[in-house]
């Protein structure tokens, strides 16, 4: 096999503003052959993105490739002039970024951006390139391949945009493709379509690829070989099968151990005895402008328990949390906190109601004011809710820090001096400062590395047992929810399709949508992707897209079991099944999918 890319003894350095250069990547060597996929895995900060960019001879602003050789198609591109090296990008090697939504220029039409690189590098004229692009769109199963290029990026969905970015990377017919976490921001159901598209294209064109990810289950599907990285150094390299099933180094073993088992394999706790609900919301309907995001959602969170809310992005999970917290206005429905009806609007709620219900957001970074010290961030709610001042306040800040397993000395720090996991713990401590009965956790672990996220989940569990606080735990990560929640609510297009104790929700019978979600969670075995992508359910699901405000069952256009004439016109009945399970579906209980 001829090597397309060979990297020898790469050293990349970066410098913080005003600081000296420090190494980010140390002595990394790798090679990728034609038609081969090499996966770079590791936690954030392991240098995997930096290495993948260095394969294009590129370093982000503030970084430099200090040492090493990068051989692409038989020549050392680091020895070329910057201009000649720049000319290779978008010609011999192309790049697929993590977020297509951020990587498409919002002011330009998609088609123009897709053919921009080959057009610039003189691979053809605009009309032939556009025709080639349309063929690519068709190959990637994009809806309306003829016209999608005319649209602006905000007019198409995230999954489609990600596939369009693949088309953008393929349009120049590269020899090497760099894929930097290309499916991390996607839903599991969309991830399957995109992964499949990448695999097909790499196979058809014989392109070499570097695939950067932290998701081992995804790696199992796409990679031929794996390179494990930690703090910019190589830990272990080998064929996919060996790394996944027979890791040699301790660090690789730790990574494998942090992988959560698939949701249906978790040992679920038995249902807890009925407790009075701390949050009880009835027939909530809410939206923004002309769009109705939530319709008729009812949810109960019993005291000292965890209710998981799952569903794909855009299904209304975050809106549900915001409505309960009083941040988003309600069109219909009522909210009870701790047995008392409260105003839908935050400003009209008494302080006691505000205290009882706290929220923790996904992005730990943006939720903390970078110019406030941790003592101020935690002190404000203490003053507001409990009137603590001076040393009483300072003492309590220290206690709160200890509660979330951080040293008391952190009080004098700024958020910028903390890591992502530590920041999320501060967010949690801030919610705890109010001494709440329920905390609304909106994707609190989604932005964290697997190992760090596992630590936060353990902390949440410990706090629940110690303080008796309840959580509404919103996540798109089914495995985490399955291991953590007592009860689960499945949302689709703003409606509850299934709810009940986790044990019942994650075992048959399923709502067809829950079944789709569960079967879409990638599994660690190789070949899983091919199997799942060809099922009738997956094909039916990828044929349609989420419709908000459907007349009948919102899932009917993506459901393999839909009853024509009924599902798309009539709102499905809620079926009460054994074990406290509720499923909103037209299918009779004994026709619901079982496996």
């Amino acid at each position: 096999m001829t090597d397309i890319l060979t990297i020898k003894h790469l050293r990349v350095e970066g410098h913080p503003p005003g600081g000296a250069y420090v190494p980010i990547v140390k002595d990394v060597s790798l090679n990728v052959g034609k038609g081969e996929v090499l996966a770079l895995i590791g936690e954030s900060g392991s240098g995997k993105s930096t290495i993948s960019l260095a394969a294009m001879g590129f370093a982000r602003p503030g970084c430099r490739i200090a040492q090493g050789e990068v051989w692409l198609n038989g020549r050392d591109i680091m020895a070329l002039s910057p201009r000649d090296r720049h000319a290779l990008r978008g010609d011999e090697v192309s790049y697929v970024a993590q977020s297509a939504a951020a990587s498409f220029n919002p002011a330009l039409r998609i088609g123009r951006q897709v053919i921009e690189a080959p057009l610039w590098h003189g691979a053809g004229d605009a009309s032939t390139l556009t025709a080639d692009a349309v063929n690519l769109y068709r190959k990637l199963d994009l809806p309306n391949p003829e016209t999608v290029g005319q649209k602006f990026p905000h007019q198409v969905s995230g999954g489609q945009l990600q596939r369009l970015m693949a088309a953008m990377a393929m349009s120049c017919g590269p020899d090497l493709m760099i894929l930097d976490e290309p499916t991390t921001a996607l839903d599991v159901t969309t991830q399957i379509e995109v992964l499949k598209a990448f695999k097909d294209i790499i196979r058809d064109q014989g392109t070499a690829a570097i695939y950067v990810t932290h998701d081992l289950a995804v790696v199992a599907q796409v990679a031929d070989r794996i390179l494990v990285l930690k703090n910019g150094e190589m830990v272990e390299a080998g064929p996919t099968d060996q790394i996944l099933h027979d890791p040699q180094r301790d660090y690789t073993k730790t990574l494998m151990a942090a992988v959560r088992p698939a949701p249906h394999l978790v040992n679920h706790r038995d249902t807890v005895a009925a407790r009075p609900p701390v949050v009880s919301a009835r027939t909530l309907t809410a939206g923004y402008g002309t769009v109705t995001v939530l319709s008729d959602v009812s949810i109960d969170v019993p005291a000292a328990s965890v209710v998981g809310v799952i569903g794909e992005s855009g299904c209304g999970k975050s809106t549900l949390a915001r409505v309960v917290a009083g941040l988003t206005p309600l069109r219909k429905g009522e909210i009870m906190l701790d047995g008392k009806a409260v105003a839908p609007n935050l400003a009209d709620r008494p302080r006691e109601a505000l205290k009882d219900c706290q929220i923790v957001f996904q992005m730990a970074d943006t939720a903390l004011n970078p110019r406030h010290r941790i003592s101020d961030i935690l002190g404000r709610p203490l003053e507001f809710y409990q009137g603590r001042k001076g040393s009483a306040r300072a003492d309590r800040v220290g206690d709160l820090l200890e509660l979330v397993d951080l040293p008391r000395s952190f009080a004098s720090r700024y958020p910028g001096e903390l890591s992502g996991g530590q920041k999320q713990r501060i967010n949690l401590a801030r919610a705890l400062a109010a001494d709440p009965k329920v905390i609304l956790c909106d994707e609190v672990t989604s932005a964290l590395d697997t190992v760090v996220a596992a630590g936060v989940i353990d902390l949440l569990k410990a706090l629940k047992d110690r303080l008796g606080v309840a959580y509404m735990f919103i996540s798109h990560d089914l495995s985490t929810v399955a291991s953590f929640a007592d009860e689960v609510v499945v949302l689709y297009a703003g409606r509850v399709v299934e709810k009940g104790p986790s044990k019942a929700v994650f075992s048959p019978p399923f709502h067809p949508y829950t079944k789709l979600l569960l079967s879409s969670v990638p599994e660690m075995q190789q070949g899983w992707l091919e199997g799942v992508a060809n099922t009738i359910e997956a094909k039916a699901a990828s044929a349609g897209s989420v419709v908000i405000g459907a007349k009948g069952c919102p899932f009917s256009n993506r459901c393999a079991l839909a009853i024509a004439g009924t599902c798309e016109t009539v709102v499905p009945p809620v079926r009460e099944l054994s074990g406290g399970l509720q499923i909103a579906c037209h299918l009779a209980a004994d026709h619901l999918p079982l496996s």
Partner: protein, 357 residues
């Protein structure tokens, strides 16, 4: 990833206190489902809202201008009679001019006149204010238009050039020069230019008086210095804003993506960064253009241009209140109109608003 809810914030809300923001609010989550509108309608509706807001702002400006002239010590009657006034004469004159009526009544009287094009009669010259203004307007407008025609393209070009070479020698030189120009007061720049080009070299004229029979070169000689002085200050400001808006966009992932396509810097800046930087650039251009019309007092004074601001300065020294009010209203209207124009242009430049999902 949850799609962030689209909220179009007009540039002005960034500097408006929150209690005034209701004036500019474009979109709010509401309890009512709003009937959906077509693409064209949506943009039209936003523009109509903005126009209405502009009118409302103009109305507020008129109230403030009227109130400000009300607060000045002494009234029109005192101003007319001057030192030689007696109490009786004052009372008679006030009666004649209707100054005994309440301020509210007089405000609406004045406003009504304005709307119908009656700007009142000058106290000093006894001529209609409208006539006086029209005869002076062209001089100011010509200065401003010429300066705009030179400074807008120049500052855009320099700003983009500077952004392309960010951190390089060109960028640093331009940054230093523009900072120096902003720091030096305009009258000083004007005087230096005058000293060099009019007094020493005798190439250009030190006064900006033009005559109808002047040919092109005579006009050029007369206007070159004031136009240059006026351009200097605004070019520096607009260039710096263009540079920083474009550089701001450089850090976004789509710029990295475009760079990794192997495109040259020039194409990155012009095709990828500029369209996204248009909104802040348009705003700063509007601010500077309105400054040119209303803030040219110094340039007009230094070069003896018989323009609108000179009229205003004369009005103030003679306490010619109707004239002051009319001039102030004109400057206010220009300011509001240009900002409105910038807002509408940046709405039209935003594909998210032009092409909803």
């Amino acid at each position: 990833m949850p799609e962030p809810q689209e909220i179009h914030t007009p540039a002005i809300t960034k500097i408006t206190p929150f209690w005034l923001q209701w004036l500019f609010v474009e979109y709010r989550p509401s309890n009512e489902a709003v009937p959906s509108l077509g693409r064209r309608n949506r943009v039209l509706r936003i523009i109509a809202t903005r126009l209405a807001q502009g009118l409302l702002t103009l109305l507020l400006a008129s109230a403030i201008i009227f109130a400000a002239t009300e607060i000045l010590p002494g009234d029109v009657a005192e101003a007319i009679l001057g030192q030689s006034r007696t109490e009786e004469a004052l009372a008679t004159l006030r009666e004649e001019m209707g100054l005994n009526r309440s301020a509210i009544v007089r405000y609406f009287d004045w406003l009504g006149g304005m709307v119908q094009g009656d700007l009142g009669t000058s106290l000093a010259t006894k001529r209609p204010v409208a006539d006086m203004i029209v005869s002076r307007m062209w001089n100011t407008l010509r200065l401003a238009l010429l300066a705009a025609a030179i400074s807008v393209p120049l500052s855009l070009a320099l700003g983009l050039w500077s952004a392309m070479r960010a951190g390089g020698r060109v960028d640093k030189t331009l940054a230093m020069t523009t900072l120096a120009i902003i720091a030096v007061p305009e009258f000083f720049v004007g005087l230096i230019l005058m000293k060099i080009f009019a007094v020493e070299l005798r190439w250009l004229s030190a006064t900006a008086n033009t005559r109808p029979y002047y040919d092109f070169w005579e006009n050029f000689r007369a206007l070159a210095l004031p136009v240059a002085t006026l351009s200097f200050a605004v070019v520096a400001h607009m260039m710096r804003m263009t540079r920083s808006s474009v550089i701001n966009i450089f850090t976004s992932p789509y710029m990295e993506m475009a760079a990794l396509k192997g495109l040259p810097k020039r194409r990155l800046v012009l095709r990828h960064a500029l369209p996204n930087a248009l909104s802040p650039i348009l705003t700063v251009i509007a601010l500077n253009l309105s400054y040119m019309v209303s803030g040219v007092i110094i340039v007009e004074t230094v070069f003896g241009v018989p323009g609108l601001t000179r009229l205003l300065v004369d009005g103030v020294s003679l306490r010619d209140i109707p004239l002051i009010q009319a001039c102030a209203m004109i400057f206010g209207s220009v300011y509001i109109l240009l900002n409105l124009l910038a807002d509408i242009l940046s709405i039209m430049a935003n594909p998210r608003l032009r092409y909803p999902k």
